[in-house]
Symmetry: C2
Subunit: 289 residues, 2 copies
Amino acid sequence: MTTLWRERPVGVVGLGLIGGSIGLDLMALDVDVRGLVHRQATVERARQRGLARQVSTDPAVLTGCALVLLALPLDQLLAPSPELLAALPKQAVIADLASVKAPVLAAWEPLVPRFVATHPMAGTAAAGVEAGQPNLFRGRPWVATPTLHTDPEAMAQIRDLARDLGARWLECDAQDHDRAVALISHLPVLVSAALLRAAEQGAEAAPRAAMPQLVRALASSGFADTTRVGGGNPELGTLMARSNRAAVVEALGQYRQALDGLEGLLERHDWEGLARELESCRALRPEFL
Amino acid sequence: MTTLWRERPVGVVGLGLIGGSIGLDLMALDVDVRGLVHRQATVERARQRGLARQVSTDPAVLTGCALVLLALPLDQLLAPSPELLAALPKQAVIADLASVKAPVLAAWEPLVPRFVATHPMAGTAAAGVEAGQPNLFRGRPWVATPTLHTDPEAMAQIRDLARDLGARWLECDAQDHDRAVALISHLPVLVSAALLRAAEQGAEAAPRAAMPQLVRALASSGFADTTRVGGGNPELGTLMARSNRAAVVEALGQYRQALDGLEGLLERHDWEGLARELESCRALRPEFL
């Protein structure tokens, strides 16, 4: 099998955190990276940062690419522009990098013949053309969700590229992926945001006027940790919930059961039971890290 | 007013994270610190680490102390040993440092005449005789919860000591304190533990056998942050919930409302509403940090 991106240009659509980081790593491997961006201001900056060899707002920049990585925000990915679709080379391997997979497959598999749905799990809070960084994917999972329609050779191209960037390649069913990220990525955002709201409302509801101030003064590192993802990008959080709604609602149901369990122990004054449950949760955590 | 601990010995009962850190800081201020510990092995180590000038398992080490700080685990504090009570100098200022205040006041105010209930908010995950560190309290809140029975001069002694250790002194009602820590310290533990349980149960409940492994493989830094306090010391978590049960149950009620609100937005496909709510939560977070 020819390793396409060693010999022919690779297109990267969107040069934010994920696209920019891929660009940097591929450029370091001497790959001919072609970046397609939305705004002219981004073109200049992406060139300066060395995210791609050529950068343009004109989809024609993708001409001749054997492989195109779609590093677009989820909403743009789910409603691709006709200009982008027209510019994608007909036989190119096209891969997306978004954090929800079933809706992306539903949108893209009918549009292009060699589509590969993937999700490199290497998010940070950063975004935009300044966010890309070298070695972002090193040691991180890069999940692919092949279907019956996925061309195995196309997927192998993306797999080899992911591995060259240092990622750990995983394959699973798209629905399993979406359920998994609902539990470990989208649910935490809601759980964490609700804690911010509860702390604020609990303080407001208290009989003393000084409570809102007191609650804010006493919040410490534990509160900061637990509310970090809930205080993240609201558009991103909404897009995740919207595009993965069924799995997120299911995850919320699981969460409610877990919380009910803890609340029941408190209601029954079952302190041994609570200690056992907290011990069991503590033992679970290292399995996830 | 005489600053008692400048002239006479200060007793510290328990030389774990909080007691040991106080010992280190007071020793650095050339205070004559007397440490009372439970086990002989701790005596040697506490001496080696310089947590106190004298360390003993014999409560008589507190003889002559003008001021005694009770840095005991909450369960031991709520059921003090007769030996400890007998050894406390009759006119000494006695202060506790526990994270729940109303039950401590109920237990201790009838026992000693000059009791001051306080809570230095400087926890870390560390515990035991190795945990104490210099400057732990610098810039951190140190809350006092005076009652009608609190001797103002006794409280002023503790206040000056806390300030000499660099802490920010705050005074509030004990019930307000307990409500506040329920919201920003005890509730996060339960919210966070429930997330670990939900991720595990959600993965187990999924139709595919590979889900438990997949969910564990994909958990990232957001999941790690949100579950940090839920994976903490289970005995401590249980003690907090037990000793602050009413306020924690109230906080859980607030939390349930907040979560219901988010779930309702998902159920109604109200994505604008969800984006607004997440934006509002994001704006709240800096107020707490």
